[in-house]
């Protein structure tokens, strides 16, 4: 399999004062598309892109990556502008500027260069001011926190309000640090809006956390027990991860709805997210219809890349589900271990009390203390197991569902194009018949219809090519993110395991002399 390739930098005129890269967030959540399955010969060693957050290798490689990401970032931005308009004519459909040799997007050969050259002139034409702005030190840097869950109201109308805090140096926001109060349905509403705008043109919109009627009811009813606090914490963490993933997406970050969500103090209540609302039912019906359609669309896949990717994601999905189930069992058993250790600690303490040999009695009490501390340790480790490992897996299982959805949209797009072509053919046949039958008044109408459908076919083709292009880029970005995400979390998780073991060493080392002191 070809390793990820970073293209050589285009244009040398870029200012290279991007030192502040290294800190904090994922700056270049790469909009650089990588083609994993290029048939061309393997490239020389790839430039490491993942170094940005992990460590600070020399600035050189990262700078190179930067440049390209910069350009693609603006490509996204300009596309963003067009997406707001109802017609959604992709900018790239306009005549490419003279410096570029137009290359059909469906060919695989040197497609990277093709996409680069298509977008470069657009950037220069459209966003010079924005480049200037960015060069002034405005880095792609934004940090989101979700905290302070607070119960608002009483009884069945109660809900949890979460504080959403944004820290950013991006110029698109009016302040550098601000926070708002949001409730769960607000998050769902945000997702719903983003999904309706971006999913069907091929963007992988991160899914929102799942609803839980049981969980929420317990909270509403006011059960102050540990299971409802756990539920709230689980949800808070999930909401935070959701927002962090969403803002990492360069296109979504530009979306005004997202900005409104993060910034404005009052947000119109998202009622369409209620499970049993009219919109909710409509969603369910649509999902069912989609499932049926997917089965009946028989697409002539001209691009092996898509087929391969789909298979890859299918496999990944299965494997992640298996792993997730096993990790859930681990969490459960570790919690059991914690509970059993606590119970043992108590009985060891009792035994120590009964023991009439003083030194042994003392040692047994110490053993009880050690076991109690170990119980705490197991509990904390169970949390780490869950919040780091298990939740990462379940997030990605849902993300992959979104990826699959995007592939499905492409199929529907293709279907639309196909249908237009078929209709055009029929119109042409109809025209031919009219010509033969010689009905001059109907000819004009037929010609009009043909023109109409020719335009539709063209549009269908454009949209299909656009969505295919977007998906390639998105999948590349997604895969990069996935690698980074998993590596980061795996390292954090292993560090938590090390922590636990080190604490165990401390406790047993403290106990050993006590045991030896038994005379």
């Amino acid at each position: 399999m070809a390793a990820e390739r970073e293209p050589p930098p285009l244009g040398d005129g870029k200012p290279t004062d991007f030192e502040e890269l290294e800190d904090g967030e994922d700056l270049f959540t790469s909009t650089v598309s990588t083609l994993e399955s290029s048939p061309s010969s393997p490239e020389p060693a790839s430039l490491p892109a993942e170094d940005i957050s992990a460590n600070s290798n020399g600035p050189k490689p990262t700078e190179v990556v930067l440049d390209d990401d910069r350009e693609d970032l603006f490509a996204e931005a300009t596309e963003e502008v067009s997406l707001d308009s109802p017609e959604r004519e992709p900018i790239l459909s306009s005549e490419p500027s003279p410096a570029v040799t137009p290359v059909t997007p469906t060919t695989l050969i040197a497609p990277r260069i093709e996409s680069k050259s298509m977008s470069a002139p657009v950037i220069f034409d459209r966003s010079r001011e924005e480049i200037e702005e960015e060069a002034n030190g405005d880095i792609f840097d934004i940090e989101i926190g979700v905290s302070d869950p607070e119960k608002v109201g009483d009884g069945m109308n109660a809900y949890m309000a979460y504080r959403v805090t944004t820290k950013t140096s991006l110029s698109m926001f009016s302040k550098s640090e601000f926070s708002v109060k949001r409730r769960f349905s607000d998050f769902l509403g945000l997702h719903s809006k983003l999904a309706s705008k971006y999913l069907h043109v091929g963007y992988i919109v991160p899914p929102a956390p799942e609803k839980s009627i049981v969980g929420m009811t317990k909270v509403k009813v006011g059960k102050e027990d540990s299971s409802s606090t756990e539920f709230v914490e689980k949800r808070r963490a999930a909401l935070e991860r959701y927002l962090q993933r969403t803002v990492k997406h360069p296109t979504l970050l530009q979306d005004p709805d997202l900005r409104q969500f993060l910034e404005s103090s009052e947000l119109p209540r998202a009622v369409n997210t209620q499970a049993l609302s009219g919109a909710g039912i409509l969603r369910m019906v649509n999902k069912a219809a989609d499932a049926v359609n997917k089965m009946t669309i028989k697409m002539n896949e001209s691009d092996a890349w898509f087929e391969e990717k789909q298979q890859q994601f299918e496999n990944l999905d299965q494997q992640l589900r298996k792993l997730h189930a096993s990790v859930e069992a681990l969490v459960c058993h570790r919690k059991e271990l914690s509970a059993n250790t606590a119970a043992f600690a108590k009985s060891a303490a009792m035994l120590g009390n009964s023991e009439d040999h003083t030194a042994l009695s003392r040692a047994l009490s110490q053993l009880a203390e050690v076991e109690e501390k170990i119980d705490q340790l197991h509990q904390e480790q169970a949390f780490a197991d869950f919040y780091m490992f298990s939740e990462l897996l379940s997030d990605y299982i849902r993300l992959i569902a979104a990826v699959k959805g995007v592939f499905d949209h492409r199929m529907k797009c293709w279907q639309k194009w196909e249908d237009a072509q078929i209709t055009l053919l029929k119109k042409r046949e109809a025209e031919a018949k009219i010509m033969v039958a010689n009905k001059p008044d109907k000819i004009q109408q037929a010609k009009n219809e043909i023109r109409e459908w020719e335009a539709k076919v063209q549009q269908g083709e454009r949209e299909f090519e656009q969505i295919s292009k977007t998906i390639r880029k998105e999948v590349g970005r997604f895969e990069k993110e996935r690698v980074k995400d998993f590596k980061t979390v795996i390292i954090k998780y292993l560090e938590s395991l090390v922590q636990t073991q080190q604490q165990l060493i401390k406790y047993w080392e403290a106990f050993l002399p006590e045991a030896k002191a038994i005379a």
Binding site: A329, A348, A363, L494, V498, L512, I518
Partner: protein
Amino acid sequence: MEVHPEAGKEGKPSCALVELQGDSSLQVEISDAVSERDKVKFTVQTKSCLPHFAQTEFSVVRQHEEFIWLHDAYVENEEYAGLIIPPAPPRPDFEASREKLQKLGEGDSSVTREEFAKMKQELEAEYLAIFKKTVAMHEVFLQRLAAHPTLRRDHNFFVFLEYGQDLSVRGKNRKELLGGFLRNIVKSADEALITGVSGLKEVDDFFEHERTFLLEYHTRIRDACLRADRVMRSHKCLADDYIPISAALSSLGSQEVNQLRTSFLKLAELFERLRKLEGRVASDEDLKLSDMLRYYMRDSQAAKDLLYRRLRALADYENANKALDKARTRNREVRPAESHQQLCCQRFERLSDSAKQELMDFKSRRVSSFRKNLIELAELELKHAKASTLILRNTLVALKGEP
């Protein structure tokens, strides 16, 4: 299934449960054991220079029921009423383990071949561990008898060690079953005695203290033993959980084409090694903690039994006193009443003296055993935690190091 413990153990008794100061004039060990379908055959080997035996070294094959017969023989012997009779070894029980192996054999199609092999390995190790434990329990029973100056001279013991044929005690006949039932009724009466409900006045501070101590101690150690068992089982569960996790990570790794490939594969390897370590933690806790607590639960019961016997003797003595007084007032059959009272008094005093010694021995035995096992437990926990830290750190270095 034929399973044999390692032949040729080191000279001194290797059981950590009891520190035995036996002399070398009588050495007993279980040199071999075979597990068959529904029974275990122990080869009991004796080395002795005592004149009583025909040879200096000889072996016999015994089954569990014969050990129980020997134990009961000691308990029923009036001569040993003032001694703590070493607790009988528990019946070998492979039921649970066998069931699990069978269920595994019936197969679960979602499990890969590798996972299956690992799970089978785990269950076989479990079976072996249970087997080793039962051998150890039977052995320590005999070794305590051999080490005790009085108990080692018992005729039944010699028969047990030397008689080449089987002792025909297998399967309790109806009379014995009934006997067992009656014994339990007597036990409850004893409970009344020992808990002071019957109104019997204890005359000796030492024994008063021992009584309250043992009652509470026995209950609490039984509790601790049960809970230690649960902890050990949880650890085992955790170790088993690592099997499917490691397998899933392996498949994930082999499917990946990017940097995650090595990450997942390394992680799979790590979990496999953590599994082994976790398994060792579980088995060490089992041996050093659970088994020790279980043994002293039984031993403290044996000590309680001794106290019952002494209290019964005290009750007999008091009754004899009352009978003597009655005889004296009526001036009838004073002689027999006097001699009976004498006998009861002597018996009671004899029991009290030896019981005192036995209880003090029990305490020192218990303390030294706890000490040894707790030290070993702590050292093993440290060893495993350090090993885990090492492999975790190595994996972290490898993961962080790669681009």
